[in-house]
């Protein structure tokens, strides 16, 4: 999926690097060097996502974000910043950001996160009672899952993991994303918790026959096929 991305970053070199990295994933990018330019740019163009630096001269990232949200522009915004404290993250999310990522970030991880944000916007808005990804169906309200209409008995963590994979079926979910969303951790454990649970989930999903619907992207994360 090719995206049209607005990069708001005062460090020109860094902005160029980001643009080049995004170009590797076939995304189109526009660079705005400060908050005022970014505001002027955003109202004129249809962007799929915004990568926003937090600290900029003239208008800082959070102020820019508040203006954007007040203008009812609902584009997904990912704050990319050197400020990684928990309190700073909360500030960013409260200001209206969709994701908060600490520099530096692996381009693969950034790409995965942008895709997840754009996909989340494409949902119909209300989370329906059941969600489908290929032959897998989950009910977030009933905490039940089925493959080929056969119920799969999943413990809590495995169920949450599958739900997240189904929500983002067709896109990559990185380990940090899964740890944030499934485990609600703001740190990365040193053991392979995610891998262990993916292994368990795979076993459960393939117990009743059928091939493995989860693919591993080594060094990046996991993806459930659509």
């Amino acid at each position: 999926m090719s995206l049209n991305i607005l990069i708001v970053e005062d460090d020109a070199e860094l902005a160029e690097t980001l643009a080049a990295q995004m170009a590797d994933f076939d995304h189109d990018t526009t660079i705005a060097g400060n908050g005022h330019k970014a505001l002027a740019t955003i109202v004129n163009g249809a962007f799929d996502a915004v990568i926003l630096d937090r600290v900029m001269p003239l208008m800082d990232g959070l102020t820019f974000l508040q203006h954007v949200r007040q203008a009812n522009i609902n584009v997904p915004v990912l704050i990319l910043t050197a400020f990684g404290k928990a309190s700073q993250k909360v500030e960013g999310l409260e200001a209206g950001a969709d994701d908060y990522v600490v520099k530096p970030i692996d381009p693969l991880e950034l790409n995965a996160r942008l895709h997840a944000l754009v996909r989340a916007r494409q949902w119909s808005g209300k989370e329906s009672d059941t969600m489908r990804a290929g032959d897998i169906m989950v009910s977030p309200t009933k905490f039940r899952a089925w493959r080929n209409d056969i119920a799969i008995d999943l413990p809590g963590t495995e169920f949450k993991l599958l739900l997240e994979l189904v929500r983002h079926a067709g896109s990559v979910l990185t380990r940090p994303m899964l740890l944030e969303r499934v485990w609600n951790y703001d740190f990365e454990p040193t053991t392979n918790i995610v891998d262990t649970y993916i292994k368990r989930l795979r076993k459960k999903l393939t117990e009743g026959g059928g091939d493995d619907p989860i693919s591993t992207l080594r060094g990046v994360g996991y993806m459930l096929r659509k």
């Binding site: 928990a86 693969l108 740190f187 454990p189 040193t190 918790i193």
Partner: protein
């Protein structure tokens, strides 16, 4: 004089005792000097009177003596005198008072018991004259009636008010001192807990204490600046090194994907893992510095450690199973503390991960949550190789990796645990229940 060996309390007590002693001594001194002086004056006076009436070495005319006595008794300024002339056989020849007992010759004290009219305390001079006559002169030693009671009132009022003022001042002073010192100690305690933003209150009265508090605060400002600089340096290093490392990791990941031979893929995979380890180390350094800044304290809320531990242990069981370990929560008592749930989850996870990493497959790992007094205690015990007592302190230090086992990890796991425990006012203890290692986290319950 060396005073440093005495406590303030003992010095105060000693000072008060001295004050009391000197007050009593002054009172007693004034009393006895006054009494003695008055007695001497009275003695001199009655001797003069006696000699005036009957000069020594002169023959006495009994009638003349009686006349002189009567005349003297009439004079106004001798109204407080008693003069008695007694003939042999106790016959009183003249006099304005009566004695109820015989007094020996010379000076003697008389009091109420002598039943002398109008006299409560006094002195008497008894002189034997030729012809068997005896002349007795009595005078009061009290300037007015019930002088003793008045004197007690004066002493009590005077010295009592001095004592009251000194005591009151002392109490006020010590309260003031202790209030200021307590304020300083409270500040220090909060700083020890990690809140460097606290300062000693300055009242603005320009007192020694204010100057002291201001100097103390300036010192804290300076320490805070230095600490921030150190923290900035380590943060900067971590940030700056993370950028090229992330780039390196990205290239390795790309190469890994494109690798044509299995050998190359394996080598690049190992390099990728090294890069991940390094990135993990920088993340941990930044995390420890975030925790040590004490900022997370703002988000503190009640957390039940037993519930959290059972959640973490249940979550880690499959991981432990994969590595051939036997992980169980053997004992848990509800223990709610005020803390940061995510950090406490990280603490528990780190303890379990630490045990998994440093013990061979087949090792049993047992976790407990208990309560003793006002404290909650989390323990994670393994039956692995343990840590020799001499190296236990090293284990909690940053990069305090121990030489044995060649186990992976960046040596920051327990330093992180220690930082989280300290943020919650707790401590980490390492010991061995016979075999293996037991790590205990003792956290205060509020």
């Amino acid at each position: 004089m060396r005073l440093s060996g005495f406590s303030l309390r003992r010095l105060t007590l000693a000072f008060l005792s001295l004050l009391l002693l000197s007050t009593v001594a002054t009172g007693v001194g004034i009393y006895s000097v006054t009494v003695r002086t008055i007695r001497q004056l009275v003695d001199t006076r009655i001797r003069q009177i006696s000699v005036t009436l009957a000069p020594d070495g002169e023959p006495h005319d009994r009638a003349e003596l009686i006349r002189r006595i009567a005349e003297m008794n009439r004079q106004r300024d001798t109204g407080d005198l008693g003069i008695i002339l007694v003939a042999p056989g106790h016959r009183q020849l003249a006099g304005n008072v009566r004695l109820s007992r015989d007094l020996p010759p010379g000076l003697a004290s008389v009091d109420l018991g002598d039943n002398i009219k109008g006299l409560s305390k006094g002195r008497a001079l008894v002189r034997d004259l030729p012809d068997g006559l005896r002349l007795i002169v009595v005078a009061e030693t009290e300037p007015f009636d019930q002088y003793d009671r008045a004197r007690i009132r004066i002493y009590m009022g005077g010295f009592g008010s001095i004592l009251a003022i000194v005591l009151g001042g002392l109490i006020l002073f010590s309260r003031m001192v202790s209030r200021r010192i307590t304020a300083m100690r409270d500040t220090v305690a909060t700083i020890i807990e990690g809140d460097m933003s606290q300062r000693v209150p300055v009242t603005g009265d320009g007192s020694e204490f204010d100057l002291q508090a201001a100097a103390f605060n300036r010192m804290l400002d300076r320490i805070q600046v230095l600490m921030a600089e150190i923290s900035n340096v380590s943060n900067d290093i971590s940030h700056e090194l993370r950028t090229p490392l992330t780039r390196l990791r990205g290239r390795l990941a790309l190469l890994h994907k494109q690798a044509e031979s299995d050998g190359a893929r394996e080598g690049i995979g190992a390099a990728l893992e090294d890069a991940d380890d390094l990135l993990g180390m920088f993340t941990a350094i930044l995390r420890i510095s975030e925790i040590e800044s004490g900022e997370r304290r703002r988000g503190f809320a009640p957390v039940d450690l037993a519930e959290l531990a059972s959640e973490i242990v249940a979550m880690m069981e499959p991981v432990a199973e994969d590595s051939g370990h036997d992980l169980t929560l053997v004992n848990w008592t509800p223990a709610t503390i005020i803390g940061d749930r995510k950090l406490l989850a990280q603490l528990l996870l780190n303890l379990v991960e630490n045990a998994l990493r440093h013990t061979p497959p087949g090792t049993a790992i047992a976790a407990t949550v208990t309560r003793t007094g006002g404290h909650a205690e989390i323990t994670v015990t393994d039956t692995g190789p343990g840590i020799p007592p001499a190296q236990r302190a090293v284990a909690l230090r940053r990069f305090g990796r121990l030489g044995h086992g060649g186990a992976a990890g960046h040596g920051l796991g327990l330093a992180l645990v220690d930082a989280i425990a300290r943020l919650h006012g707790g401590e980490v203890r390492l010991d061995s229940p016979g075999q293996g290692l037991r790590i205990s986290i003792i956290l205060p319950m509020e």
